[in-house]
């Protein structure tokens, strides 16, 4: 096993042990802190697929995060009030079950990613960064001004959506759901990286023309990766809304897109566990610094700057050496 694999296993274990220990010590808050880490890590794993493996720097992934969040909020709201959400082409009255919510979140995000990707992937470099940002801003302003689901005030979820066989109101049960989904996404991400599709995606990042010459259509490869990436981030958004029992346009803000990018780079872009380390550190820093000083954002800035300047390849890069793929 390589050092990175060992580190990854250790991290996966650490994230699991943390809330268990917290429960044993009677500190339920740390379970929700760990849940937050797992969910943001899941969103990051989604983004990492596009950004880390495909080199597609999306500055608009908050759009998918928010779509997933609104999927959870809207479905739960309709289920609670027993108002049909759709009466055509089929009757659909919302749902308070997580697996239904995830499915809707993933489908809605996939649709949005298809739309955004089909236009954005015609561009590259900074143009891609900015056009994804522009799309997220459209969703943001739409969410703020659309009155039906709360606008800027957001949408409360009265009761956290349920999952068969578990009591999601218990912090530990909900954590385990998020943790298992994160692990599944990591496995998926790992399988993709080492698959033909993943190889094509990474090759297309380095040399478009060569990949095209091999008979692989780079545009389609990228679009598929972008859609899958958006779906994972969308599911994470649904979980995040369930964690906070609240969803609002701030989940779609450009700062949120920025934070998702930040936690990937913090951990190490393109690394399988980069988003996991990044999310754990980011949430921990926010929590610790916020508890220490009013000026916590200043210190957060200094720490992030230090990481970019002196820890190239993120924290994982620092711990196990330079990345295998440049």
């Amino acid at each position: 096993m390589s050092r990175e694999t060992l580190l990854n296993a250790g991290l996966a274990l650490l994230l699991l042990v943390l809330p268990l220990a917290a429960t044993a010590l009677g500190e339920p808050f740390y379970v929700s802190l760990a849940t937050r880490m797992a969910i943001l890590a899941l969103a990051g794993v989604g983004l990492n697929l596009a950004l880390g493996f495909g080199g597609l720097i999306s500055f608009g992934h908050a759009a998918f995060f928010g779509i997933g969040g609104y999927a959870a909020g809207i479905l739960a709201g309709h289920a609670l009030n027993a108002e049909p959400l759709l009466s055509w082409p089929f009757e659909f009255s919302g749902s308070d079950q997580m697996h239904v919510v995830w499915l809707v979140a993933a489908l809605a995000s996939a649709l949005a990613a298809l739309l955004i990707g089909a236009i954005s992937l015609r561009t590259s470099g900074v143009y891609f960064i900015m056009i994804t940002l522009a799309f997220a801003q459209m969703f943001y302003y739409f969410a703020i001004s659309w009155p039906a689901y709360g606008g800027e005030d957001g949408l409360s979820i009265a009761i956290r959506n349920g999952f068969p066989g578990l009591n999601t109101a218990l912090p530990m049960d909900f954590f385990l759901i998020c943790y298992v989904l994160l692990m599944l996404a990591l496995v998926l991400s790992w399988r993709i990286r080492d698959s033909r599709f993943g190889a094509a995606l990474q090759a297309a990042r380095q040399n478009d023309v060569r990949v095209a010459a091999l008979g692989i259509e780079p545009f389609r490869t990228r679009l598929a990766a972008f859609i899958l990436s958006g779906m994972i981030t969308g599911v994470a958004g649904a979980l995040y809304a369930d964690l906070n029992r609240f969803v609002s346009p701030s989940m779609i803000s450009w700062q949120m897109s920025g934070e998702l990018i930040v936690l990937i780079i913090l951990g190490g872009a393109g690394r399988l566990f980069g988003p996991v380390v990044g999310a754990m550190l980011f949430v921990l820093l926010e929590f610790l610094l916020g508890g220490l000083t009013e000026r916590w954002q200043l210190f957060l800035g200094v720490i992030l700057l230090g990481v970019v300047l002196f820890a190239r390849g993120g924290v994982i890069g620092l711990l196990v050496g330079r990345a295998r793929h440049g």
Binding site: S156, S248, M251
Partner: protein, 380 residues
């Protein structure tokens, strides 16, 4: 800052009936201390702390943290304060969207929440809660008072303006609830917009007799400065937020003469208010804003309730809060059945005080014993 003010200031003169319950109270204050909206949070925190200090409230401990205006962060801090710091009461949130994120969760966990500012309509109506008290106002109130004033003044044509988000539409709806004259313009602007040239041109062309605008924070500052430069002479009015002490300095003389409505004013004539304004100015070297006044009342209310009942006895403490037996800087103060205030609303005018500082002066009363429009939906 995590202000662990162990306010064990030896309660001076225990003459007040019953400091018998010396049960310590732990208050979690979540407010905005960084970014563009920090001024409001800083005023609220300072007002709250001052109240505890003046009340000599012993054993009220306050934990303060910055929410950076992010709802998700506010939820996380609330969870931490409830589960880890074991606070009994939460307070401090300025913005409605953060309140909507935090309040339902906090009261569901059996904690008290006292609002120093935000008063979104669901929490006053269908989603009201026995443990949620709003010491400030319901969001529509200031706007209703302005609409009522415009109606009473017999203004024929109004131009009304607010950002396109829930508080904005609530504002204009509140205004229209009491103003029955002609609306020659109803405009919604982009949230966070900073250039109002286009809207000012519309106002000029509208032939309105007066303009009502609700643009909180930096948006209102930008609007007023640009309005003053535009040469448009139509008088403006707004809710008290638009001309509150925290923004008057930045607007400058352009604000002089503007009418605005609020439940409090620095010149409101009662003993407690005089004490408050003098103490605040002495302590922080600036005049208090409406946010400071509301937070001060919140602090006074908690101190008064803690002196009457133990916070561990939720029913008794709730009754003590609901009785609202404290000296309010607003003079009289009482809670409605939905735990929102029934109070008077005044029309204020921006003036320069003796030292040349811009501030507000009461010129009329718009409502006496006004209650909000949502109380009938609340099943308390």
């Amino acid at each position: 800052m995590r202000n662990l003010i162990g306010a064990s200031l030896l309660a001076c003169g225990l003459g007040v009936s019953g400091f018998a319950f010396a049960e310590p109270v732990k208050v979690g204050m979540i407010t905005t201390l960084s970014g563009g909206g920090a001024g409001l949070g800083v005023d609220a925190r300072d007002g709250f702390m001052l109240a505890l200090k003046l009340a000599g409230a012993k054993d009220i401990e306050v934990v303060t943290e910055d929410d950076a205006m992010k709802p998700e962060l506010a939820v996380q801090i609330a969870d931490k304060m409830i589960q880890s710091d074991k606070v009994d009461i939460l307070t401090g949130i300025i913005w409605s969207n953060l309140a909507m994120a935090v309040v339902p969760n906090a009261v569901a966990q059996g904690k008290f929440y006292l609002s120093v500012n935000a008063g979104p309509s669901p929490l006053a109506g269908a989603k009201c809660d026995k443990n949620y008290f709003n010491v400030a106002y319901q969001n529509d109130n200031f706007h209703e008072a302005a609409g009522n004033y415009a109606q009473a003044e017999g203004i024929k044509k109004m131009f009304i303006l607010a950002p396109n988000y829930p508080a904005g539409t609530d504002s204009l709806n509140g205004f229209k609830r009491f103003y029955k004259g002609e609306l020659v313009g109803e405009v919604y602007t982009k949230l966070g917009q900073t250039d109002y040239a286009a809207e000012i041109a519309q106002i000029r062309a509208s032939g309105a007799d007066s303009v009502f605008f609700f643009l909180p924070g930096g948006m209102g500052i930008a609007f007023m400065k640009q309005y003053a430069q535009s040469g448009v002479e139509i008088p403006v009015m707004g809710p008290g937020f638009s001309f509150s002490q925290d923004v008057l300095g930045a607007i400058g003389d352009a604000a002089l003469g503007a009418k605005n409505t609020a439940s409090w004013s620095p010149d409101l004539d009662n003993a407690k208010n005089k004490e408050f304004v003098a103490a605040f100015t002495g302590e922080y070297n600036r005049l208090p804003s409406i946010y400071a006044a509301q937070a001060f009342d919140t602090g006074s209310l908690i101190a008064a309730a803690a002196a009457k009942a133990s916070v561990k006895d939720a029913d008794a403490f709730r009754a003590a809060l609901a009785a609202a037996e404290f000296d309010s800087v607003r003079g009289k103060f009482k809670f409605n059945t939905n735990h929102h205030p029934i109070q008077d609303f005044y029309v204020r005018e921006v003036i320069k005080n003796g030292e040349g500082v811009l501030t507000n002066k009461i010129v009329a009363t718009s409502f006496t014993d006004h209650q909000d429009a949502y109380v009938k939906d609340c099943k308390l």
